[in-house]
């Protein structure tokens, strides 16, 4: 982290960048928040550790409208999102200086809590080059938790340690994949329609329509969103009917189908812990199976599957036949 701060200060000092986009300390020891750093003294608050899960690519849309270059810290998986935004002309490559930061998997405080650790006051060992075990300070004394067991779900299906786009790399990255990306989707597909319906009803009824999933999603970058329109029934209000949540989530996932890089921000930010990535991953799985493998944000030249076609594509009736 010191190396990163030193380099960021240099970039500000030599005029390469007018501001640095990174993370600063939050109210609690485990919730750093995205922030702009414009002056040297601001860096007292700068932090980059295992809890910095936020994908800063989306903030670059606004940052590119500001004067001067913005130096942005992107993890390997965030660079896919940046690439995708670049392809959609939502960010300006000339206005961005990308610092590829190292990553060994990001942490989820809920995963630590789920292991029975209560009253957390601090976590040490979350640094990028830290040990394989986390020391958790709680009001009941210190606890030790293996790093891998506290990782976000998305890090278990890590896309790789390579940065797709960057100007320089600071720190080492490690690939943390230890599960198949589509295992969860396959498990649901194996259920009967009744079970699937019950499962999604249970999960989606938790939705409070806070729109955090939409706001955090780097693929949701429309200037005007259909969910903000007051002509639309399910705009910005609590649910009155169970169908609304389904409608909201199916539409949200459909709007990013073919552009979703599977960065997992939707599930990470959901205050209700709904596995929203399942919708996106189902679309990705279908696209891979029906139209050939496609990873959004990997190749800036590749055509998105929903803006492309082949004469011999499968007919929609295939859904019923596949079962």
């Amino acid at each position: 982290m010191q190396e990163l701060i030193k380099r960021a200060k240099e970039l500000l000092a030599d005029g390469t960048a007018a501001r640095v986009l990174g993370w600063r300390r939050g109210d609690l020891p485990y919730n750093p928040e995205p922030a702009f750093f414009e002056k040297e003294e601001d860096f007292d608050q700068f932090v980059y550790d295992g809890f910095c899960g936020a994908n800063l690519s989306k903030m670059m849309i606004e940052a590119c409208k500001l004067e001067g270059k913005t130096a942005v810290c992107l993890k390997p998986c965030d660079t896919y999102s940046f690439n995708q935004l670049l392809k959609e002309h939502r960010v300006d490559r000339e206005k961005a200086y990308i610092i590829g930061v190292g990553c060994r998997g990001k942490l989820d405080i809920e995963k630590i809590r789920a292991q029975g650790v209560k009253g957390i006051q601090g976590v040490s060992g979350a640094e990028i080059d830290g040990p394989d075990e986390l020391q958790v300070q709680t009001i009941y004394g210190d606890k030790t938790v293996p790093y891998a067991s506290a990782m976000l779900g998305r890090c278990h299906v890590c896309k790789g340690k390579e940065h797709m786009i960057c100007d320089e790399i600071i720190g080492e990255s490690r690939e943390t994949q230890d599960a198949d990306r589509f295992d969860e989707v396959r498990a649901i597909e194996a259920m009967s329609p009744e079970e699937r319906f019950a499962y999604f009803k249970k999960e989606l009824s938790k939705c409070i329509r806070c729109n955090a999933c939409r706001n955090a999603c780097p693929a949701c970058s429309c200037r005007k969103c259909v969910f903000d329109s007051n002509k639309f029934d399910s705009a910005q209000k609590a649910n009155v009917d169970s169908f609304e949540e389904k409608m909201f989530h199916v539409i949200r996932a459909f709007h990013v189908a073919g552009r979703c890089t599977d960065c997992g921000e939707c599930s990470r930010v959901c205050p209700q812990g709904i596995p929203l990535h399942l919708f996106n991953r189902k679309f990705i799985k279908d696209i891979d199976e029906l139209y050939g493998e496609f990873q959004a944000g990997k190749d800036p030249e590749a055509k998105s599957p929903l803006t492309d076609y082949r004469f011999e594509d499968a007919e929609p009736g295939i859904v019923g036949k596949r079962g």
């Binding site: 649901i188 597909e189 329609p193 009744e194 079970e195 699937r196 319906f197 019950a198 499962y199 999604f200 259909v226 029934d233 009155v240 009917d241 169970s242 169908f243 609304e244 389904k246 409608m247 199916v250 539409i251 996932a253 459909f254 189908a257 919708f279 189902k282 679309f283 279908d286 696209i287 029906l290 139209y291 599957p305 929903l306 803006t307 492309d308 076609y309 082949r310 004469f311 594509d313 499968a314 007919e315 929609p316 009736g317 295939i318 859904v319 019923g320």
Partner: protein
């Protein structure tokens, strides 16, 4: 004494038909005096590609029991490629509806040309029969839209 009236289930079916092929096909079915159930309500769209996945969800929300999309045969689109895009979109949408546990068969895509009046009527008869066997759409309906 109250007499309980036994009502036969009449499905509500929305058919999105493209202006150039399927709507003309429906016209031909009519002028050839071919029969299809009155449960089918046709909505004319400029092209099958005009049908946003939200239209389908909205139709279900508002109480439709089945939604069918008809367009020109692949390769025959009036706008050259519209139905190719519609085909990919609908495949993904139907797969998602299946994924969240909606009964298979409530949605369908059929390519009907302007010369296929007989196919139009046969398709609609078949689809209405299918929806009748599936019964009322409860999984995708909005309670507030029920009367």
């Amino acid at each position: 004494m109250q007499v309980e009236e036994k009502k036969e289930f009449r499905p509500k079916i929305v058919a999105f038909c493209c202006n150039w092929c399927s709507y003309a096909g429906a016209d031909l079915a009519g002028s050839s005096r071919l029969v299809y159930p009155a449960d089918v309500k046709i909505i004319r769209v400029p092209c099958s590609c005009r049908v946003n996945p939200m239209f389908i969800l909205r139709a279900f929300e508002r109480g439709a029991d089945g939604v069918i999309l008809c367009g020109c045969h692949p390769g025959d689109c009036h706008y050259t490629t519209g139905n190719f895009y519609a085909r990919r979109r609908m495949t993904l949408l139907f797969s998602m509806l299946d994924f969240i546990g909606v009964e298979n068969g409530r949605t369908r895509v059929e390519w009907v040309s302007a010369a296929e009046g007989a196919k139009f009527s046969a398709t609609m008869n078949e689809f209405v029969e299918k929806i009748r066997s599936l019964g009322e759409n409860v999984r995708l309906g909005d309670l507030r839209c029920r009367n």
